[in-house]
């Protein structure tokens, strides 16, 4: 029933959107506002119908309608509610329906309250946006319908792929689709501007949509990268996979368009550039969808092959021919009235920036299509791996960073050296300081040092620019410096939002240099209790375990991590096995993030008896800067997007606007907080423990123990003697086994500079006294009443025994019972040395 309703809703939406496009077109031909209103109503209805279709699919998921193929392939009865919701877009058919809905909704939004500026462009924009909605709805209905039925009804669905059960993957797809959908706006407005011969200010009309699209794509890419880092367990976050590239390319052109729009606004220039960038942003969205769903590109995360390819190709060709025909027809409108006369000007820098964004996009496109291109050119297929992309795009990204640093130093006109005063010195300080700090921190690769210099230059100029403006403002308005700084942010949001974005970019650049130019990766086999050095770190395997957790089996390893001999943290990487989902296994990495570098550990395998594990260890320098920079970057984008206060409005309207703005701000902050939580959220396989066991060779933690006879014993006062510190309890059977051996060894070594200390863990004094009598124990024994000593020694159970040499360092550690033979062997090694 739901399936039929869903398909009918899709069909009605298709017809309505088609009618909307025709009505809008007719309103232009006839100059009749009634047709325009009808077209607008049709666009609203199409959005409502697709929204209902999406709700029908949601209802099908919630009521386990497994006769619907899409539901049975992406859900199961025991799937939690939030995953059933996210399964809506977990596959191709559902994601296309979501896309169609968002496209229709967005079209309705654009039409709902056009600004005075936008009004002349709206009729043509309605036609184009409705045609795009028609295309996506038709593809969904005829080629990839999520409501398609199975011939037999399965008892249960296949469930959602465990790799997709991550907050990053729940938010990533809708964010990307929102971005894609909104990139239709600059395209539609650019085309409408040509058709109505009003090319001057379409970029500023479309700016809010472009910026929002860019923001959503940016957040989507960031969450996707974080998901890869947290879930895929290969130590990286970006693999230059064609599917990743498909999302990156429109984001790059949208970034360029935002810069071009500033220039068109300020200087009336860059007109051709801006139209081209709007067209290509939209084409790249279609191209990305085409490549990921047509099976043309081999990718590990492409969708299944489908027969949509030719239709997407046809729609792309149509878009290309249509837009280029318009550009040629109205080429005179696109001639820029101002010419760039030197590159050492702000205009020149903007031009170079746009050019390099374009060449990066082309490079990524060439890399994604390299097998096809090389086969066509030379008959041999070459494939571009991550190294190819890093080496081709790396220098170009470096050039952009350099431009970012140089641009604020330059004025409008060539040879405006006046601006250099007060700006050059901090820029150079940044350019020298950052590489020096990086070199001291261990970065030796000259290329990465050049990168740090560029980033330092950019940081130096950005901060100086800000400071100079704040100082000027505070002098001018006689306010404090901080107030002036805040006022700058709230007054000229576009400019200062842009600066914040650039600061975020600089932080991301640091992260990119660190993670891509100096990563460290190794594999190690760890035996229980053995300390293994990896770079600056020492890893000790504490224990392994296996347990059922919901619908999967979890095999985990507990690893103590030390750095420079000090206990750092305990990591718990695990392998999850899903018997209900094709027996798929997911290696969930454990991560210790730190500003300087992340320690990232993946559990590869566990031996049959659990006494040994194979782990992959990655040390990723400056990885935190990627996520930190990402958040700064997004905050800047939100700031730039935020409308400036409207002083001109009458009081009640202004008050309502202010209320709406604060509500919106709260929503955006919540979104950013959610993004931050998804990135740093609770636990990445780290276990909180106050301390770990001291490593062999490191100083034993000092303690003072009150003995059973009332006297006290302090470990540091035993310096010069060898100490055997034994943690035990009367309730522990293995402890019972080892007590005679301890007493025997103590008797043999007493008086030879050896002291034994029994530290009793979580026990009753009477029970301990009984034991002392029963086993005739004569060495010092006391109760660790509040468990502090055990905590400082990081013991994970009893018995554990530490042999401390004459200089107070740990010489040997035993986890579990120790035998007299073992102790004698170890004592012979340290006594009398």
């Amino acid at each position: 029933m739901l399936a039929e309703i869903g398909s009918i809703l899709e069909g009605l939406a298709l017809l309505t959107a088609l009618y909307g496009a025709l009505a809008a077109f007719w309103s232009i031909r006839r100059a009749d506002p009634r047709w325009a209103a009808s077209g607008r109503n049709a666009a609203y209805s199409a959005a409502a119908l697709l929204g209902l279709a999406l709700l029908a699919l949601l209802a099908a998921f919630l009521s386990d309608q497994f006769q619907i193929a899409y539901v049975s392939q992406h859900s199961s009865r025991d799937l939690p509610l939030y995953l059933k919701i996210s399964a809506l877009w977990g596959g191709q058919e559902g994601s296309l329906l979501l896309w169609s809905f968002l496209q229709a909704l967005f079209t309705a939004l654009v039409l709902a309250r056009p600004s005075e500026h936008a009004r002349p462009l709206v009729p043509w924009a309605t036609v184009l946006l409705s045609v795009i909605t028609v295309f996506f709805t038709a593809v969904t209905l005829f080629l990839s319908n999520p409501f398609a039925l199975l011939s037999a009804v399965p008892a249960d669905g296949q469930g959602l792929n465990p790799l997709l059960r991550h907050p990053g993957m729940i938010f990533h797809p809708p964010l990307m689709y929102l971005g894609y959908v909104m990139l239709a706006a600059p395209f539609a407005f650019a085309m409408a501007a040509l058709l109505t011969r009003r090319v001057e200010d379409w970029p500023s009309i479309a700016r809010r949509w472009t910026l929002t699209a860019w923001l959503f794509l940016g957040l989507g890419l960031l969450l996707g990268a974080r998901w890869a880092y947290d879930v895929l367990g290969w130590g990286g976050y970006w693999g230059w996979d064609p599917v990743e590239n498909a999302g990156l390319m429109p984001w790059l052109t949208a970034t360029a368009l935002l810069h071009g729009a500033v220039m068109q606004d300020e200087r009336r220039g860059f007109r051709l550039w801006n139209v081209l960038l709007a067209v290509f942003s939209f084409l790249l969205v279609l191209f990305g969808t085409f490549t990921t769903r047509s099976g043309m590109i081999q990718s590990v995360h492409a969708f299944a092959r489908s027969n949509m390819g030719p239709y997407f190709l046809a729609f792309m060709s149509l878009t290309l021919v249509f837009s280029f025909a318009l550009m040629i027809r109205y080429r005179r409108l696109l001639a820029s009235p101002v010419a760039v006369d030197s590159f050492l000007t702000r205009d020149g820098m903007f031009l170079l920036t746009l050019l390099v964004f374009a060449t990066i996009t082309v490079s990524v496109l060439v890399g994604s299509l390299l097998p096809t291109i090389t086969e066509a050119v030379g008959g041999r297929r070459f494939e571009a791996g991550p190294a190819w992309f890093d080496r081709v795009t790396g220098p170009q990204f470096a050039a952009l960073t350099l431009f970012l640093g140089v641009c604020p130093l330059l004025g409008r006109a060539a040879a405006a050296f006046k601006r250099l005063r007060g700006r050059l010195l901090p820029a150079l300080v940044g350019a020298v300081l950052l590489p020096v700090v990086a070199a001291l921190a261990g970065f030796t690769n000259p290329l990465s040092l050049i990168g740090f210099a560029f980033a330092g230059l950019a940081a130096g100029t950005a901060l100086t620019e800000w400071a100079l403006d704040a100082v000027a403002r505070s002098r001018h308005g006689e306010t404090g410096l901080l107030v002036a700084l805040g006022a700058l942010l709230s007054r000229n949001r576009r400019k200062y939002g842009g600066y914040v974005v650039h600061l975020g970019v600089i932080l991301i650049v640091l992260g990119l240099i660190g993670t891509r130019m100096a990563p460290f990766e190794t594999q190690r086999v760890l035996d229980a209790g053995e300390a293994v050095g990896v770079g600056d770190y020492v890893l000790v395997l504490e224990e392994t375990g296996r347990e059922a957790a919901g619908d999967h089996l979890s095999t985990w390893a507990l690893l103590s991590v030390y750095r420079n001999g000090q206990y750092l943290t305990t990591l718990r990487p695990r392998i999850e096995q899903y018997p209900t989902f094709f027996d798929q296994t997911v290696a969930v990495p454990a991560l210790h993030p730190a500003l300087r570098h992340d320690l990232y550990v993946v559990l590869a395998s566990v031996s049959g008896d659990g006494s040994s594990v194979t782990v992959k260890v990655f040390v990723n320098p400056l990885a935190s800067f990627l996520w930190l920079g990402g958040l700064v970057f997004l905050s800047g984008g939100v700031m730039a997007l935020w409308p400036s206060a409207h002083q001109a409005l009458p009081a009640p309207q202004a008050r309502r606007r202010a209320l709406l703005n604060s509500l919106g701000l709260a929503a955006v902050l919540l979104l950013l907080a959610a993004a931050a939580l998804a990135m740093w959220g609770p636990g990445h396989g780290e276990v909180n423990r106050p301390a770990g066991r001291p490593l062999v060779g490191q100083p034993a933690p000092d303690f003072t123990l009150t003995l059973l006879d009332g006297s006290t014993l302090t470990l540091s006062e035993l310096r010069g003697q060898v100490a055997v510190v034994n943690f035990w309890a009367s309730w522990c059977p293995p402890c019972e086994d080892e007590l005679p051996d301890l007493q025997q060894t103590w008797s043999a070594y007493q008086g030879r500079g050896v002291t034994f200390v029994g530290v009793v863990f979580r026990d009753e004094e009477s029970a301990v006294r009984d034991f002392v009598a029963r086993f005739s124990l004569t060495y010092p024994i006391g109760l660790d009443v509040d468990g502090r000593i055990a905590e400082r020694y990081g013991i994970t159970g009893v018995p554990e025994t530490f042999v401390v040499d004459a200089s107070g360092n740990v010489a040997a550690i035993h986890i579990g019972p120790v035998t007299a033979e073992q102790l004698v062997g170890e004592l012979e090694g340290v006594v009398g040395r």
Partner: protein
């Protein structure tokens, strides 16, 4: 020299630099896309360059030594052209036919890494690496897909 000429020259310089980057890196770091059959046919000529080879995993040949760790396995020829795969009845059918064809060309792969989860019989392996002196293929990176198991592919990356 006019502003326009300068702009064009600077633009051309940047474009030329990018073309240079693309061409040289395609020669040096890009991977030569070959099928198992083509590697066998090239023999010595295939040595010493980056190669991407795709093939069907032969389940019974998988040997894993976790102490190094190293996994060795054999892959069987599958066509490199997606259209040819489509004509032969889709990827799952092609992979199934390949592992059951004793006459199809084969290639032994050595991968010094932990055994990937999806390394199973009839999986499609896309392997980046180099052909060794001993005629075995030394993998830097192994990507696996099991089309018979999922309608849609999800990332299953091992390496780089």
């Amino acid at each position: 020299m006019g502003g326009k000429t300068k702009a064009i020259i600077a633009g051309l310089l940047i474009v030329a630099a990018v073309v240079y980057l693309i061409v040289t890196n395609t020669g040096s770091t890009a991977h030569y896309f070959l099928t198992v059959e083509e590697i066998q046919a090239l023999g010595d000529q295939a040595r010493g360059r980056n190669i991407t080879v795709s093939g069907a995993v032969l389940g019974e040949t998988i040997v894993y030594d976790p102490s190094i760790p190293r996994v060795t396995f054999t892959i069987v020829q599958v066509p490199g052209d997606p259209q040819e795969v489509e004509r032969a009845g889709g990827l799952a059918a092609v992979l199934h036919a390949a592992v059951n064809d004793p006459t199809a060309p084969r290639l032994e792969v050595v991968y010094n890494d932990v055994r990937p989860d999806l390394l199973v019989n009839e999986a499609q392996a896309i392997i980046r690496g180099q052909l060794g002196e001993d005629g075995r293929f030394y993998a830097d990176e192994v990507l696996l897909k099991c089309p018979s198991r999922y309608e849609e592919e999800i990332p299953a990356q091992a390496g780089p």
